[in-house]
Symmetry: C2
Subunit: 462 residues, 2 copies
Amino acid sequence: MTIDDVIQEALKIYKPTLREEEALLEIADKIISEVGRESSGYSGILKTSLEGSLAKRTWVRGREEVDVFVHFYPTIPHDEMESKIIDLGFKVLEKLGGKPRLMYADHPYVESRLENVVVNIVACYSVEPPNWISATDRTPYHTRYILEKMDQSLRDDARLMKAFMIGCNVYGAEIKIRGFSGYLAELLILNYNGFKNALEAISNWRPPIIIDIEGYYNSYSEVLSLFPKQSLIVIDPVDKFRNVASAVSEERLYELILASKLFLRSPSLKFFKVGRHLPKRSNLEKKTRNRNFIAVFFRLSKSKPPDILWGEIKKSEQGIKRSLEKNGFRIYRTASWTDEEKNCLIILELEYSMLPRIIIHEGPPVTHPNVLEFIDEWSRREEKVAGPWISGSRLYVLKKKQLIDVKKILKRDIEEGRVALAKGLAEDIKNGRIFTSIERLMKYKQLSVFLGEFLDGKPPYL
Amino acid sequence: MTIDDVIQEALKIYKPTLREEEALLEIADKIISEVGRESSGYSGILKTSLEGSLAKRTWVRGREEVDVFVHFYPTIPHDEMESKIIDLGFKVLEKLGGKPRLMYADHPYVESRLENVVVNIVACYSVEPPNWISATDRTPYHTRYILEKMDQSLRDDARLMKAFMIGCNVYGAEIKIRGFSGYLAELLILNYNGFKNALEAISNWRPPIIIDIEGYYNSYSEVLSLFPKQSLIVIDPVDKFRNVASAVSEERLYELILASKLFLRSPSLKFFKVGRHLPKRSNLEKKTRNRNFIAVFFRLSKSKPPDILWGEIKKSEQGIKRSLEKNGFRIYRTASWTDEEKNCLIILELEYSMLPRIIIHEGPPVTHPNVLEFIDEWSRREEKVAGPWISGSRLYVLKKKQLIDVKKILKRDIEEGRVALAKGLAEDIKNGRIFTSIERLMKYKQLSVFLGEFLDGKPPYL
C-alpha cells in the first residue's frame, strides 16, 4: 500500500462518522446541562464548558472522552475549589448512572464511564493569560486556539497522528506512559501542516528539537537556556513559558522517531493498531530459556488515583533496580504493570540470578593513612580468600560472599528497608511475593499479555 | 624485638664474615686473571675489572656474584664486541669448569655458576662520561662512586636494604621482577644515610618521588618534565639524564612502601626471609573452592635468555588477559611462572568461568543513518532473544551466545590467532595445554610453590 492508501484506510477506521459525532455531542450536551444545573448549587462557579478533543473535533474513534470544565472565580481558594469539584463531580456522575473515580493529573478531577464514553469533570479558574492559577486554566485557551487554527483537514490529520501515537505506544502524558499529549499531537500537525509532513519531519528529528509556532523567541539558544536538558521543546502558543512536551520521556521521543522512519519506509496499518496478543505456552518456554528474571508481585492495600500509583510504582521500580545494582547485579531491563486497582508487578531482567561467590574488594591506596588498619582487618576476616595484594597503587583482596542469590538478597534488602521504595507502596511491597520464574507468574491470567510483551521487549510496530 | 635488635640479627645472617669475604675475593681474583689472560688473544680489549656488589662490598650473603667487566675500545663496532664477549665468556667459564649460559640485560653477557658463586662476564666500552656507547659503560663509574661515597657502615646498610628487598620480593631490575636494582638500593642508603632512615623515608613516600643526590636539577618540575609518568625518579649520580629507577614497576614501588610501613610498626626478621613453602593438599581444596582459574601450560621449543623469555611471557600474559576481557570475562589477577629452561605457565583468576548465555547488545542511536539496517538485521537473526527496544536514545537487543565457556573461547581465540601473544612464544602456546583446575596443575611438582603463592595472593611478609 502507498502511504496515501494507508492514510485513507486509517481515516475510515479512526475518524468517527457524522452520525457518531452527533450522538456523542448529544451525550456531551446532556452532561454539560446536568453539570450546569447542579453547579448552581455551589458558590464561586462562573460557567461550565466542553473542552478537550471532543470540543476540538480531534478525537480518535474508540477513544471518546467528554471533558467538562467547571470555571471557578479566581477568588476561590484552591482547596475550596478542589473539594467543590470532587463533590460536584461525584454527584453529577452518580446521578447520570456512572461510577465516579477520583483522578489526579496536576490537580484532582473526577472520572466515570457513561454510555461507553469516558467523562471527566475538571475544575479550572477563569483567568486571562498569563495569570494562570492552576494547571488546567490553560485548557479552554488550548481549545480555542486549535479551533481557530485548524481546518477540517488538519483536524482529521490530528486524529491520524493520535491514532498513530496510540498504535506506537507513545500516546498520553500520564506518568504510566510519559508520552505525547493530545494537545501536543495537534500542535505537531499544525506546525508541520499535516500528518504526512509531520511524520517526515519527525523521522529526521535530531534532538534537541525546538518548535515555536507563534515565534515567541528570536533564537534557539534563548529557548534552550529557558528549557535546559529537554530533548523536545514545543512552546505553548497560549503560554510562552510552558513546554507542552515537558512530560515526554527520551524513550517515547525516540520511539516516535523510529516509528516514523519505519512507517515512511513501509506504510502499514499495523502502526495504528493496538494489538495485544496472548503469548502461547509453548513459545514461553523457548522465550524464557537461559534468561534471568526477578519480579515482585504485590497487592494494593488501598486504592489511589492512577497517576499517583504509577508514580509510586516507577519510583519503586527504580529503587529495586538501583538496590540490585549496588549489590553487584547487572540489570538489562525493567518494567511494571498494574490493573490500577488491586494488583501490581515490578519485573527486572538480569544478566545473572546469582552473584559470583568470590568477589574482588578494593582497599585503600598504599599511601592512605588507614592502610595498616586495612591490612590488620583483613588478616582477621574469615571471608578473605586471597590477598591483600597490590595492583597499581592500591590494595585488593578476594572475599567470599555468603548471600549470592538475587531472590534472597532482594528479600533481605526490602525487609531491612534498604531499598528506596515509594513510601505509599513500601508496606504493600514488603507483603508481596518475589518470583524468579515467568512460568509461575503466568498463572495470573491478567499478567499474560504484559509478560508476553515484556519477553519480546520491542515496540508493537516491530 | 626492637628494630635495632632485628638489624643486628639480620646483619649476622646477611653480612658475610671476613673469612667468607676473603675466600670470595680469592675466587674473583682467579677468574679475573683468567679472563685477563684469555682476553689478550682478542684485539680491541683494554682491560678487565671487578665490578658490581663484590667490588663495592655490598653483596648479601648467599647471593654472591662475581661481575667481571671486559673493557673494549670505543672504536670496536657493537656487533664485534658482542661476538667477542660471547666467545671469550664461554671459553673462560668452560675452562674454569662452569656451564656458561648466554644472558641478556641491555646487551648480551655470559653467566655461569662456579664454586657456588654466580659469575658474569660482561662487556663494556671504555669511555668518559657522558659519552656512553652501551648501557653497561656506566657500571665502572657506579662502582667507583659507591666506593668513594660509602663507608663500612653504609655498605652494611646497603646489604640490609638488599636483603630486605629480596625478602619482600621487590629486588631485581630484570623483567621477571621489575623491581629495585642493587645500585638503586645503594643510592637509597646513600641518600637517606642508612637503612633505618631510608625505611622511614620510604614508608612515607607519596609518589612521584624524586631523588637527586648530586643536585643536578634546580626544581622538581624540571625533573618531572624530563621523566614524565615515572613514579620513582632517582637521578644517576654518574649520568644526570638517567633515572636509575626507570625499571621499577608501580607494584614493586608500592610493595616496598607497604613493607616499610609494616616493618617499622613491627620489626621482624620475616621481612628478610625468602620463605617458600609447599602448600598442603588439604588446604588446596579449601583454597580453590568457588574460585575460577584458567591457565596455559606450555613447553619452550627453544631456549632463550631469561630476560627475553620473561618479556615474552609477560606480553603473552597481557595478551591473554585482554583477549578474555574483550570476550566479556572479568579478570581478577594474572601471574606467570617459568623454570627459565623448558616449562612455562600463565595463569589467570576470573570472576566467572562462563559468560552469561544471554547478553545485551548495544545498537546505534535512533538518529543514526544505519538505524533501519540494524532493525532489519536483527529481525532476521536467529540469536536474537528480545528487542530491539529503545533506552535513552539508543537501540538494544538481547542475544544468545553460543560459546560461553572460558576454556573453549580461549582455545578458539589462540588457534585463530586472535590473542596478542609474543611472537617468540605463539607456536609454543598454541601447542600448550589449557587447564581450569588447580588440582590438575599441582601434578607438576615444580609448580606447587608458585601455585600456592598465587592462591594466597599476598606479599611474603604478610
